[in-house]
Amino acid sequence: MKLTRKEFLKVSGACLLGVSGKKLLAALDNATKKEAASGEVRWPKHWGMVVDIRKCREDQGCAKCIEACNAAHNVPAFDDAAHEVKWIWKEPLAAVFPEQQTGYEQNALKDVPVPVLCNHCDNPPCVRVCPTDATWKRPEDGIVMMDWHRCIGCRYCMAACPYGSRSFNWVDPRTHLTHLNPDYPTRTKGVVEKCTFCPERLAKGQPPACVEACPDQAMVFGDLSDPRCEARRLLASRFAVGRRTELGTGPNVYYLV
């Protein structure tokens, strides 16, 4: 039997289609079987925080959240503002929500201190610019993580973050730590750091250190993909604002006003 070139191409094409079709079917079958075996629909976790500004007592000098975070993560204290390292800190309301200001200086709330931290954005600009993948968004729970082993200290992320949530270690942080927590590493000179929503605590089923330390439960942490969680209930019942949402970053720290 003699095949023409046209017939040969037709036959081999049909064979290829057959083989790939079979593989595709098997893969689909496997996927559905796996889903059935796990037995439950797994909600993608989406960590977020709700801060009740009315409950927060920072205007009365309370800094328990900041102290707890600094102690837990070996965050150094610098007198020189140029060297400052901040994970969670206070900012006046007018600086936290500049776009919400009326411009009238008598605004009673403009100087009220508000706790600010990394917003663990849905669309984090810091992640987009990091050249080494030292910061990335965890697909499992939405935390914007830091890998200090990989950070080369280029500070692109600091330029990209519209919230100023990142700090650079200009000097060795160990020289400015009075107490060392051996369970958490310090950072070293030349790397950038920020709040990580305490994944080391979340792994043990504990809330972030700041949330736990707040005497008035002004900070509520939860899985925003779960409509039954307290953070979601608060967001559903009260008026909440996020910082600089017009930038499209999708912050996951909400403020109840």
Partner: protein
């Protein structure tokens, strides 16, 4: 043509050359003797609280760096924090929390590393030696 002398006229050069050669080739011996170094291995203080490590001794001797690097990647990048050893024991993957719970950094890690001439181990720029933490006060 020069007349050959029976009494080796270049004796001074030959002997001093030989002495120089001997001195140079045996220099490591003199150097070590004067620096009081011995061929004995590092004086390691082994843990007393535990009898076995997270992996067999032979593996730990040659490949502890690999293990630590994989722990690092698992914890930081993958978010997995526990390590199941071959004997079924489960450990928390933590340099300060697990390794240094048994080992003494100065008398184990540092002594062997300095004996082997490994000058740059950057783990400790960030990871905290619990002994150091005890010394720090609030």
């Amino acid at each position: 043509m020069r007349k050959k002398s029976k009494s080796m006229p270049d004796k001074v050069w030959i002997i001093s050359g030989l002495l120089l050669f001997l001195g140079l080739t045996t220099y490591p011996v003199w150097h070590n003797l004067s620096a009081h170094t011995t061929s004995k291995g590092p004086d390691l203080v082994l843990p007393v609280s535990a009898k076995e490590c997270v992996a067999p001794l032979s593996y730990m001797r040659t490949s502890h760096t690999k293990l630590l690097l994989s722990w690092r990647d698992e914890v930081v990048r993958q978010g997995r924090r526990t390590y199941a050893a071959a004997d079924g024991k489960v450990y928390n993957m933590s340099l300060s929390g697990t390794c240094l719970r048994c080992h003494n950094k100065q008398k184990f890690c540092d002594r062997c590393h300095s004996y082997a001439g490994l000058s740059t181990v950057d783990c400790w720029n960030c990871h905290v030696d619990p002994a150091l933490a005890e010394g720090s006060k609030r």
